[in-house]
Symmetry: C2
Subunit: 135 residues, 2 copies
């Protein structure tokens, strides 16, 4: 077995993730979503404030501002000023937003599963174990 270069693993892993996401980009666009926007939608329940989203998703605040603006314009998100702290904008999925979020994550899951399908069942569970351990 060749020696393990972690940087090589990082790179392979990264390429895989990019290949998967770009393979669903077109279908996401049909739903009216950019890929980055999907991540925002998928994270809103857990982190309903833009500042939290930026921290959680590791994207800069101005980007969050932009994505939220577009998602709101598309009717996928509502925002209301938090009565506790007037600086904060509490975000909430609309029914349409929840639906499209679920469809989007289903697409991503399907695409990733397709890659996972190249592995045996045993290898799939092994991979899951390894990733869970690292996360």
């Amino acid at each position: 077995m060749s020696k393990i270069d972690p940087a090589k693993i990082w790179s392979l892993n990264h390429r895989l993730l990019m290949a998967v996401i770009s393979s669903v980009a077109a279908e996401l666009a049909d739903l009216g979503l950019e890929t980055k926007e999907l991540f925002v939608l998928a994270e809103v329940d857990e982190h309903p404030y833009p500042a939290e989203l930026a921290a959680s998703l590791c994207i800069p605040k101005p980007s969050v501002t932009l994505y939220v603006k577009r998602l709101e314009a598309a009717g996928f998100l509502r925002r209301e000023i938090d009565t506790e702290d007037l600086r904060r904008h509490r975000l909430q999925l609309t029914p349409a937003g929840r639906k499209v979020m679920q469809q989007g994550t289903a697409l991503l899951s399907e695409a990733y599963s397709e890659r996972l399908g190249r592995l045996s069942a045993a290898q799939q569970s092994e991979l899951r174990v390894l990733l869970e351990k690292m996360l």
Copy 2:
């Protein structure tokens, strides 16, 4: 075993990779490298032509043009017209380029190892094999 949505795994995995790479961005900059440029340098031995690099790294050709230009200007890369096919530019690491590439990948490896360290050596090998198969 808990049921985990593949899209969720994708997302967590992505965040992990981004966190790792951004944690070394500053040190890479000290070496005179952008993160994308490091990937180019690290791949030149295996894929010495820009078109191959673009395909292999999943980045658009114009970006490769730019990175190669900067890496050449920095003295990390040399290019020579291929005598077999005058369209092709054969790329080659300079000694300085090889050194900085090794230092850069060492930094990335170190940062990623912090996470990989949660796996046994055998598991690390396994992970690499699985990722290569999925790519």
